[in-house]
Symmetry: C2
Subunit: 347 residues, 2 copies
DNA sequence: TTGTACGCGTTATCAT
DNA sequence: ATGATAACGCGTACAA
């Protein structure tokens, strides 16, 4: 199976190799006629340049990579779409890679950086638990985007950028809303505190209680299973089901699930227990995914401004690449969206 | 910004280049001590082999590609996961690529085949409207998986494999179920008939009507908008909303949406119109995504056996690559799952 | 067991 | 404007 190469094209056209290369890459100094003829031959031959060889030689490829951890998270679909548009508008090529749960995203980035001659990297999702040492090995600018991050930890850092919402603050906002509706037993469905995102959202919840002089009952803290996807509907269902079946289940008047997917799973468990939403139990989520608008009842949630965040991510990255800007830590405000799934507790 | 290469490692270790190469690739004939020492240096140096250079040379890379069209389709998340596991179990490397809506998946495949020295390709999603001519350019085995395909067209073909459910048959099954419940005005939400998948599901619907001597009213056929994602919740919502607001809206007692996402969007429109599901209007979907189990009400649907299909896809592909089997056209049976969103019409 | 030298397909440099 | 040729980083005969 003889691969057809640029040489074959050159021979067929009776020109030199470099002329063919020029034709392919839209180089300026080439006779339009020669170019046209070469392109015709390429067309009919079905020749396709080998990208590996190109990457090996190329120095100026305007290319950035987006590494996504958690393909199942619908939250990212939207962001990726916008990132693609924005990248294209800026005439950059984009390579999109999904990172498996067991893979280390920085390792993948390191590999990709060499393979594709990247100019910049965006990390979407992931856990943000990388050593400075390892991150230092990346020698192109990179940005962590939409990852829960304790901002106070990172102030003043300039090695990379960070775009996120203040998980703790927003989580507190949601809890305050529920408390002000009159709920006192708000169960929270959350990741184990080892995970930064889960921990931050939990802290916001606790702070809201504390500031009102209320105390969080240990019973109200429901950790998701860590043997399956932490933010899946299934996990929300299983966790809420356990809660509903427990003794404290009867006391609960509201459930705050720390992601919309979890919330939807939780709703199923609540309904199965014969309770109404929000009359018997209020359910709130976090993220603001599209599904929340369509679910029945419509989900009360914290909506992250994904469009703006995605746009800002790319713009900032390209600016840093072009040395038009320094790295930054940017916090976007999220919005509490009250819909149908929450209400006052029964009196 | 000097890239560190295999040469540097060789120099640092005082050995030849090929020795380093042998160490990296776990070659048998190399002194374990030399190997160990080299690996240590690699470790501390942070050297990472350049994949482009490797791909250029390698001939035996056991690697297959999966091209996915329609990243937003949650239907694929599940399949991809299983494909990853199954591929890994067989010691193959996997490259996963998302194909943009405007890209031609076969073109992408052609490019990737050269770049990565692929041994086989899986197409997930996409529209199956490729010329034989173009497909012939691919010179490794490939499989179209879970794409609506008119099987009668393809019997006897041996150039590639095909794994799918019989869209027409399954769609007919769903329609029959609704008709037998007593519904006579079943609205269908479907893609324009130019799209194979939409056309087939539509044909099944029509056939079910015809076989019972019933006639499909033109009013009952609701085409989705083609300026936004055909299978999105939003499109289901907008299309159903138009239906509910039209004159015929009052006659409809059931809506059959040709995907679960569309169905969920449709539910929202029905609820907004002040109707109950399924008491006033039944709503059915197609695909069997996880969300359907969690939605409220739980969605009646046609469930495709994604796990089995994904497994079979990889096994067949690897068998064909190893010349253990010929290409095949395999049709999997889907299952009608009756849940809460459908019931008898009001009398 | 180890090292040398060549080639993979392309682009960049330098002549012409 | 065009062509020859040297890289790019790695794998692998082949020789040692």
């Amino acid at each position: 199976m003889a691969e057809i190469t640029i040489k074959d094209i050159a021979k067929k056209c009776g020109v030199g190799i470099s002329t063919v290369s020029r034709a392919i890459n839209n180089h300026p100094d080439i006779n339009p006629e020669t170019r046209k003829k070469i392109m015709e031959v390429i067309e009919e031959t079905g020749f396709i340049p080998n990208n590996s060889a190109r990457n090996l030689k190329r120095t100026d490829a305007k290319c950035i990579a987006v590494l996504v951890k958690g393909i199942t998270n619908p939250f990212f679909s939207n962001m990726i779409q916008i990132i693609e548009e924005e990248t294209q508008r800026n005439k950059y090529a984009l390579v999109l890679r999904h990172v498996e749960a067991h893979e280390d995203e920085v390792d993948v980035a390191l590999e990709l950086e060499k393979e594709k001659r990247l100019r910049g990297i965006v990390f979407l999702g992931g856990r943000f638990v990388h050593s400075e040492e390892k991150l230092a090995k990346l020698n192109v600018p990179f940005i962590f985007s939409t990852i829960g991050v304790d901002i106070t930890d990172r102030i003043g850092r300039v090695e990379f950028s960070n775009i996120a919402v203040d998980d703790k603050l927003e989580s507190k906002k949601m809890t305050e809303y529920l408390l002000e509706l009159g709920h006192r037993n708000v169960a929270i469905i959350v990741e184990k505190p080892q995970q930064p995102v889960g921990r931050l959202r939990m802290e916001g919840y606790e702070e809201a209680y504390a500031e009102r002089g209320l105390v969080v009952s240990k019973d109200m803290i429901c950790y998701v299973q860590d043997d399956i996807d932490s933010y899946s509907m299934e996990n929300g269902y299983l966790t809420a089901k356990k809660l509903m079946e427990s003794e404290v289940g009867a006391k609960v008047t509201a459930i705050y699930a720390t992601s919309d997917s979890l919330a939807i799973g939780a709703c199923r468990a609540v309904l199965e227990a014969g309770k109404k939403i929000p009359e018997d139990i209020s359910v709130a989520g976090y993220d603001g995914i599209e599904l929340g608008e369509y679910y029945n009842p419509k989900l009360t949630t914290i909506k992250q401004p994904v469009e703006e965040m995605a746009k800002k991510t790319i713009r900032l990255l390209l600016d840093v690449i072009a040395e038009r800007q320094e790295h930054q830590q940017i916090i976007f405000p999220a919005e509490l969206i009250v819909r149908e799934s929450t209400g006052q507790p029964r009196t």
